[in-house]
Symmetry: C2
Subunit: 141 residues, 2 copies
DNA sequence: TGTATTATTGCAACACAATCGCATTTATTT
DNA sequence: AAATAAATGCGATTGTGTTGCAATAATACA
């Protein structure tokens, strides 16, 4: 809680343009508690005080811009957002070249640890990666 | 052309439920000519005789069911469909565990050849794979 | 070849995720 | 306490894909 507050404040200071609001705290909190990637509607149900859909997306996208969160598009057509753990600071920069796994039973979406190397044909340049796998997690087998 | 006709006819026979229509021939033809994955709107512009959006999707999905085509979700939120070359008959069955690459300049979406193996955490089961990369192709550098 | 069957099609309506414009609110600065 | 501008809520909008239904047309069969 307090940890988040400080963290967010730090980020706000750095950017000098973000303000600390309840919405941001709530979303950040929910993401941290969940310890997994969340969609907009998941967040809506997880957060007590109702936040408008547009606001949730705006906050999440601003988090993405600030490198606090990364986004992945699920094969269900939904965007999922997850806190950047080590991934933002590692040698790969801000390229999140890891897969995301969605359990078809419980719906949880988690970052798979193993970083993927993508073999592009010669002369091709890399811009973005989106890796998504569905199945069943160990709990829902 | 004639090749497609025979191929499609064979498939119709096998399934005993599909009929050969102009829409199907047109879509199949476009996919073959393009030699890449196409979205619904790409197909609409590529095919001379106008076909309804719903029909295109229905045809494409029926092709998927029959194993003639596979589908991938792009990070632009669009579904792309590509003819199954060898992938349908190889040892991996109908799991298309290869990446798709979309050029941000020309828009072409192609299947990358290398098959990917993703190590899931223990106890996890696999159901579906979607790997999507964007960048620039060798022509558009 | 003509007729019956039913897959296929086109149209319109719908469902859904996500975004945008704009007036209002509110966190921050001074 | 007042001024500034970021953030919010609301409603409308975009875009992709699906569905229901009546009309059409490909196939099977007499």
């Amino acid at each position: 809680m307090q940890h988040n507050r400080i963290y967010l404040l730090r980020l706000c200071r750095i950017k000098m343009k973000r303000r600390q609001t309840e919405s941001k705290m709530g979303i950040l909190n929910a993401l941290k508690k969940a310890n997994s990637a969340l969609s907009h509607d998941m967040l809506e149900t997880l957060i007590d005080t109702p936040i408008d859909r547009a606001t949730i997306y705006r906050v999440l996208n601003s988090f993405c811009e600030d490198g606090l969160v990364h986004k992945t598009l699920g094969d269900d057509g939904k965007q999922y957002f997850a806190l950047c753990g080590h991934c933002a600071e590692n040698e790969h920069g801000h390229n999140h070249t890891h897969f995301h796994f969605r359990c078809l039973n419980c719906g949880k979406v988690e970052c798979l640890k193993s970083d993927v190397h993508i073999p592009l044909p010669t002369g091709y340049t890399f811009e973005n990666f989106n890796g998504f796998i569905t199945g069943r997690c160990s709990i829902c087998i």
